[in-house]
């Protein structure tokens, strides 16, 4: 609960419970700080719990919500909205978030269609299709950055770094429905995720409709990622780190992990955003900070838990 507008805890208390403070103080608290915090919670929770779902689905603790290339797809959607104003006629000012969200689902559809064969969908194929489609959209984003002029370029780059700087109540209202729906869907299938993460074929033998769980997990992840990137841009590593940390602490049982990821993800994102905006002279995009912390962590996990990953 800190920010660059100076409010002491006493003042915050006064504003919250006694209706005190100047109109500026109240505005900063109620219309800037609180919606931004809520957006952080939403995005942190959504990315963490969908990261958990992806790690379980792919039985790989290195998976993240972006593994299906959906973040790259969303970044491409945002890029064409920023560069060419695509969708401005239909969605006005909201064309960037809307296109990001839409492309998230288009990418998901493409990946799933590629991975689908008449024998069903193999998880490994799904993963590779995600990597390929993600790489394609990353290339497209680079192309957009290449042909963009300096202003547009900086807007695209800034978007892809991820930030809560533009998050207000409107952002929260936009993201709350898809992200919450995605989170609820994942929470409702914790038992199935337990079984699937222990082996798909055996899960099927024990009565799990694996195909349905797979589709549900992917759609729920797209909802979480789509809703999140729409308001904050792409923020990496949160969906990788948070589930992983909690799994190391409490074990792989999703009944415990899912709620922890929701709470922990929200708390982690709030902390990161607070550091990002207040700890340095300039306010950093939070995505930069999560990547700066995330990359070393990724390496640490790779070094210490290699067996688990490759077995």
């Amino acid at each position: 609960m800190v920010g660059n507008y100076k409010l002491s805890p006493g003042q915050v208390f006064d504003i919250l419970f006694r209706g005190g403070g100047s109109s500026g103080d109240r505005y900063i608290l109620f219309d800037v700080r609180i919606p931004r915090l809520l957006c952080c919670c939403l995005v942190g929770a959504g990315l963490s719990v969908s990261g958990l779902a992806m790690q379980s689905l792919f039985k790989n603790p290195m998976a993240s919500p972006s593994i299906l290339g959906i973040s790259s797809g969303a970044a491409f959607g945002a890029s064409i909205a920023i560069s060419f104003g695509v969708g401005a006629g239909l969605f006005g000012s909201f064309n960037t978030p809307v296109l990001a969200f839409v492309f998230c689902f288009i990418t998901m559809g493409i990946v799933y269609a590629i991975a689908k064969t008449r024998y069903g969908v193999a998880t490994v194929t799904l993963l590779l299709a995600g990597v390929a489609v993600g790489a394609f959209f990353n290339g497209m984003v680079s192309l957009m950055q290449y042909i963009a002029d300096e202003d547009t370029l900086s807007a695209i780059v800034y978007w892809t770094m991820g930030s809560f700087n533009k998050c207000g109540w409107m952002s929260f209202r936009m993201a709350i429905v898809p992200v919450t729906a995605g989170i609820i869907a994942i929470v409702m299938m914790v038992r199935e995720l337990n079984l699937v993460s222990a082996g798909e074929e055996q899960a099927a033998n024990m009565g799990v409709n694996v195909r349905l769980v797979r589709i549900a997990a992917i759609v729920a992840t797209s909802l979480c990622v789509g809703g999140s990137v729409a308001i904050s841009g792409t923020i990496g590593f949160v969906g990788l780190i948070v589930p992983h940390i909690f799994r190391m602490i409490v074990g792989p049982n999703h009944k415990v992990l899912a709620p922890l990821c929701i709470l922990g993800g929200a708390a982690f994102m709030m902390a990161m955003d607070t550091i990002a905006k207040a700890a340095f002279e300039v306010s950093l995009p939070v995505g930069v900070l999560t990547a700066l912390l995330g990359a070393p962590f990724f390496v640490y996990v790779l070094r210490t838990r290699r067996r688990d990953i490759w077995e």
Partner: protein
Amino acid sequence: MRLIVDGVNFSYESKEVLRGITFEAKAGEVLGIMGQNGSGKTTLLKCINAGLRPSHGVVTVDGRDVLDMSRREIAKEMAMVMQSMNMTFPFTVYETVLMGRYSRIDSFSGETREDVEATYEAMRDTNVIQFMERSINELSGGERRRVLIARALVQEPRVLLLDEPTLHLDVNHQFELMNLITRLAREKSMLVVFVTHDIVLAARYCDRAIMMSDGEIVSAGLTNDVITPENLRDYFKVEAEIREDPRVGLNVTMIGQAVPPGKG
């Protein structure tokens, strides 16, 4: 309870793996399916529990086609213990066994006392309860196989399917496991169908046996009618001596590789 496999064919791409597999089995029996590697045994198990869809033929349990049943309904009828068990995530033994209750737990209410009790009972039956809090990845091969059997038991199935249950186990653990399985089959009056390439073990523990070769059933019936020196020579390419032994039932002694006809 009656399991009927009727004229089942299965092919991967254009390769026919199973041809006209037909047999029946009932509760309380221990049925061994023997065959060399690649004879289609595992594929047959997967067709029985609808993990694979046969290109021809049907599998029924008490007259119901398994392909018409949901995964959950099948899981209540049949449990399958698979050959390989790779766990990326270190679930505990208790968590792993409890997973078997999935088909019997209501999606909304969560697990009940009954489910927990069933889990404890299965862990006791298979003698894994003493390490219930340990991670499955820390266990030895034999312990792990017992955990998986416990997980299959909590499904309260009427058919227990096992794919090479003794593979990679020490000899004493092979006996321990097969004794456990046959005891459970009698106590819980389940039909146990297990697939193996180990003739010695099959000869000792099966009530009835099926011998497969190249995707077809080449011999079926009581164990001593199926495991004969002739069949072993023709389909396993080994010379063997077989005699009744009061201590072990059917005793198979392998002598050596069969000599191809015309060269001896």
